[in-house]
Symmetry: C2
Subunit: 307 residues, 2 copies
Amino acid sequence: MTAPEPAYVAVDWGTSSFRLWLIGRDGDVLAERRSGEGMTTAARTGFAEVLESHLAAVSAPAGLPVLICGMAGAKQGWVEAGYLDTPAALADIPAAAVRIPGAAADIRILPGLAQRDAAAPDVMRGEETQLLGAAAQLGEGDHLVCMPGTHSKWVRLSGGKVAGFSTFMTGELFEAIARNTILSHAIAEAGPISGDNAAFRTAVTRMVANPALATSQLFSVRAGSLIAGLSPVDAKARLSGTLIGLEIAGALSLVAEGTPVALVVSGGLGTLYKDALAAAGISPAVIDADAAVRNGLAAGARALWSL
Amino acid sequence: MTAPEPAYVAVDWGTSSFRLWLIGRDGDVLAERRSGEGMTTAARTGFAEVLESHLAAVSAPAGLPVLICGMAGAKQGWVEAGYLDTPAALADIPAAAVRIPGAAADIRILPGLAQRDAAAPDVMRGEETQLLGAAAQLGEGDHLVCMPGTHSKWVRLSGGKVAGFSTFMTGELFEAIARNTILSHAIAEAGPISGDNAAFRTAVTRMVANPALATSQLFSVRAGSLIAGLSPVDAKARLSGTLIGLEIAGALSLVAEGTPVALVVSGGLGTLYKDALAAAGISPAVIDADAAVRNGLAAGARALWSL
């Protein structure tokens, strides 16, 4: 029995994380690397050097093609990979990849997507590859795809095309509010929150019912702690539920009622969003985000190199 | 002609500011003091000492009664002055003032208001005195009173009673988002914004039309700067308009359409809120906040000391 032959290398290169997979001819993962050498670090230490060190660590044969998605293609990244404009067919993404000039191997970075709409300009970089990977599981028709995170993306897919999308600053706002406002006193020392928490679910349903009260509900976290004995964990749950509920209300406002919702997510955030969507009366199809990005890179590699 | 005789001293003692007025028998302001010795500073240096130094500076006769409103009555303040619970008659506020024990003069701190509602617990301290002062100008009937600031208060007044109120974290969120999120890049170096700014007005009307998209509109400030050439000042205006517009949408959702709106405000924030309300189709009655708090303290002093 011979060792499986590597066919290409897939890389998900985010702002603060780097993940690499060595993929075989049959599509199997032969080796995997994860590190904190995201764009921020690599911009200092060198993108080529970071990639080289991980290729060496998995004993990748010289000259193996490499397909990259994510922030490595940003203006502050390795080589700018630009954007495809919406409405954009997912199948058009691979051909728009940008090749790293001067490299011995064929190394390409996939583009992001841009929505050049004066009322709602928006960008994504990395999530388009997850979408490409998730598309096979979703099938044709209309879908609303939620990709939670620091900047949660909600994508309106129609017949394999990205019709439009909206980024909600949920994760980043949670951190900024929990750390840098008067709510920090109410939340201090709270451990992790669970979607089972009644304060979380109530906050979600309140936002779906009346999203206009969002910043007042945020102050009620402080007031509840002052005059109603709101515990730190319930205070944190209420902050989280208010921001996630506001996001859900906003995303749902942009699609026809009954549009199927898919949740592309990995880890603990998945449980929280499933519980939040349940509180809003929605049962999403759940797709693993790690698998989706690998599948998206695989679809890109097949299209580019006839693998 | 003799010098006018002082009747009492009025003090507005906030978190970060201290204001004192020496008031004559005829209600005239005989002397005024302003300093940064708010609750935060006075909690370290001593409340009695701060008050004494300013009384000496205006040559207040010994034993003159002093009426205080604001954070000096908070738990972390001089003496806790508690809260009146909503629904609360404004006329009942003075009698609930708490006297400083052991002081030679009659020094009293007015209470705050508390809304002990599980869905929307809320508190105010200082604004109740502005309301007491503004009430005479508003007259009976139903009013929605907006008091903009770090924590904007919107009060539902009905027949001289505070039926309920909502605090929106607008000012504090603006600072936290502008300083501690990715939007800081888009806004850096922007000067002061004006309510005339089209990006400000558009952001307000968008929030009134669809408040659920608030945190997506916030991200569009970043995306607009990346792909649509949004200028720093327009980025700042869009952030401000989104937060103020969300606040207006939330407050209006709690009252019957057509309820008269009053704006109790001083300084540049007044112009911004007037322009925001105009963009939302509302022409408020405008009441000066500085005069309102003095009038409220005067109403309290008359009720307490038959002046």
